[in-house]
Amino acid sequence: MPKASAKPGKDILVIDNLTKYYGDFKAVSELSLTVREGEILGLLGPNGAGKTTTIRTCLALLKKTKGNVSIFGMDSHKDSERIRMRTGYLPGDFGLIPDITVRAFLKHFLALSDCKSTEKMESLAKRLDLDMDKKTQDLSKGNRQKVGVVQVLMADQVLIILDEPTSGLDPLVQQEFYKILREEKAAGKTIFMSTHILAEAELVCDRIAIIREGKLVLLESITNLQDKMGKILTVEFRNKVDPADFRIKGVTNIEVEGKNLTLTIHSNIDEVIKRVADHPIVNMNLRTYTLDEMFLRYYSGDGGEEE
């Protein structure tokens, strides 16, 4: 199991051996991970994997059963209010206060966060095309989500925690949101987000943590992960080939179906290409694993390390 690597002064959020039970049900099990300053860490997993529980326990909305969470070097539960002065959080599911305008709602939350400036709030609303004069109860799901996005970013917090942030947003707004996230990162913000949209994680995250049944199964940077997973070579030959011809060191997952060959290259690419070139080729493609494929491999229990 990956361990949280503590780097004093660099780690904004450290989850250490966190366990959370709901009655007899273990929602999070001995989870350890670290979110480093200035990075975007994506927490991946299907519904029920424990993503939201992990995030809500970090924010002291849930009591932890075991383990520790520290944010900015402070205890997440004992120093919760001090932590929240520097942390923005967008819940996965939330309701708005009815009978007031979006502007009044957001100003209320700005005031609760002790933030006087409305400049960023107005600017974010404009970028996301959010009607600030509309009553909150008249908003569509997508527009409610926009309110949440503005709310989490408007107070200019150092740490931003997002739970399924793009849920309900249309593709154009999603793109604008990713752009905003990258700008926040460039401004030195640290972002910890959960998602089950792998393309989203691939697009914006520096590192990803995959959890399964409350347990951490992977914590890795996307580039390292892609290196570790190897590259996929697919070749269409003119004639049938024997898979034994490609059984060489550094090659895994060799599959032959008719005249088509698929294999994963971890090393020895020069030798693989030479072997392929021994046969007449119709078509050939070399690519990295997509996050979807990696995710499926981890979730199917096939870790992805070289065999």
Binding site: R56, L61, L62, K63, R84, M85, P91, H108, Q151, V152
Partner: protein, 366 residues
């Protein structure tokens, strides 16, 4: 940052507060204006009572002296005694009858309940006696007196016998006896819903994404409820004072008495709301929270009435919060009991502390 929860609570709840203020206007301002009408309707209208005079001893055992004006041509008089005022309309008495040629009679006062005496004139040339008038054995009696001898009514007045003829008695029974239900139920519902709806509508996560502590959240809500309760007491007292004054009863029930009575209810109403908040925190549901809080109010209310008139349960009344708001006592000039005020304030504080304690220890459901 401080005061934001309070402000938002008032801002989003203003419609309900406005509607309830209107109800208070109707109740506190309107009810005293019915005083004269209800009082008059309670005065027993006995036919011909102006022709009769009655003297009743203070205690049963003596004689009742009944005299009447002499009637020219009367050969004698028949006096019928009954325990119903219908005696004036009938010729055969249920209890006793007397005959005399004089214009006065003494009858034994050997009963405790109210009796009626009707005098009929016997004339030589008229076959049926002619009705002269009726009086009762209870001087200054009203129809309400019989009605209010009900123990439940005495329970509403803290076990006291009070009269509708007195504006203070009228206010005690017609307004303050159910003020705790009217204001208490509305405020309890408000207190429960203000917290439980934050759970139900999933607003808790957003609220606690800001640096608001759970203690501050509870205190913010509680303070908002205090402001609303204060407003309701202020409107109620102001309107009732104006209304009573307009009825010409300001000397009997002045502003000081009415304001004291209303504001003495403030800790009791806050106690109910603190209990409501505790219920909402515990159940995280509007329906369950309101159910338990309403049960608390009704059970306390009923128990207080029973305990006020039952000798065997006399000490149990100290266990009800309603006992500590003695509106009848305040109206009758006994003043606000500081000890009662303190008991309710301490109990309120205890409920608030319990609510904070429970909230601090619970998971906020997603």
């Amino acid at each position: 940052m401080r005061g934001n929860i309070l402000w938002m609570e008032l801002r989003t709840g203003w419609k309900g507060i406005l509607i309830f203020t209107f109800i208070i206007i109707l109740t506190a301002g309107g009810f005293p204006s019915f005083y004269d009408m209800i009082k008059d309707s309670g005065v027993e209208d006995l036919e011909g009572d102006e022709y009769l005079t009655i003297e009743v001893p203070e205690e049963p055992g003596g004689l009742i002296n009944l005299t009447w004006v002499p009637v020219q041509g009367a050969a004698g008089y028949t006096i019928l005694e009954d325990n119903s005022s219908t005696v004036q309309n009938k010729l055969s008495p249920s209890l006793r009858s007397f005959s005399t040629e004089n214009t006065s009679i003494s009858v034994p006062y050997d009963y405790e309940e109210k009796h009626y005496y009707s005098v009929y004139i016997v004339m030589d040339n008229v076959s049926d006696p002619v009705f002269l008038g009726t009086r009762t054995s209870v001087v200054n009696a009203t129809l309400w007196d019989e009605f209010l001898q009900n123990e439940a009514y005495q329970g509403l007045a803290g076990g006291r016998e009070i009269s509708f003829l007195d504006i203070r008695g009228y206010l005690a029974l017609e307004v303050f006896s159910w003020w705790v239900l009217l204001a208490g139920i509305y405020l309890a519902w408000r207190a429960v819903a203000s917290v439980a709806e934050d759970y139900k509508e999933k607003r808790m996560d957003l609220i606690f994404s800001t640096p608001v502590s759970r203690r501050r959240y509870i205190l913010g809500k509680f303070t908002a409820h205090f402001v609303v309760t204060f407003w309701i007491c202020l409107v109620g007292a102001g309107l009732m004072t104006a209304s009573v004054d307009a009825m010409g009863q300001g000397d009997s029930a002045g502003a000081d008495v009415i304001f004291s009575t209303f504001f003495a209810s403030l800790p009791m109403l806050m106690c109910i709301q603190a209990f409501g908040i505790l219920g909402a925190i515990h159940f995280k549901s509007t329906r369950s929270g309101i159910g338990v809080t309403f049960l608390f109010i009704f059970a306390q209310y009923a128990f207080n009435i029973v305990a006020s008139v039952s000798e065997s349960l006399q000490n149990a009344k100290y266990a009800t919060i309603m006992y500590y708001w003695d509106y009848t006592g305040i109206l009758m000039g006994e003043g606000v009991n500081a000890g009662h005020f303190a008991v309710l304030s301490i109990l309120t504080a205890l409920f608030v502390v319990l609510a904070v304690w429970a909230f601090d220890r619970q998971d906020i459901p997603a």
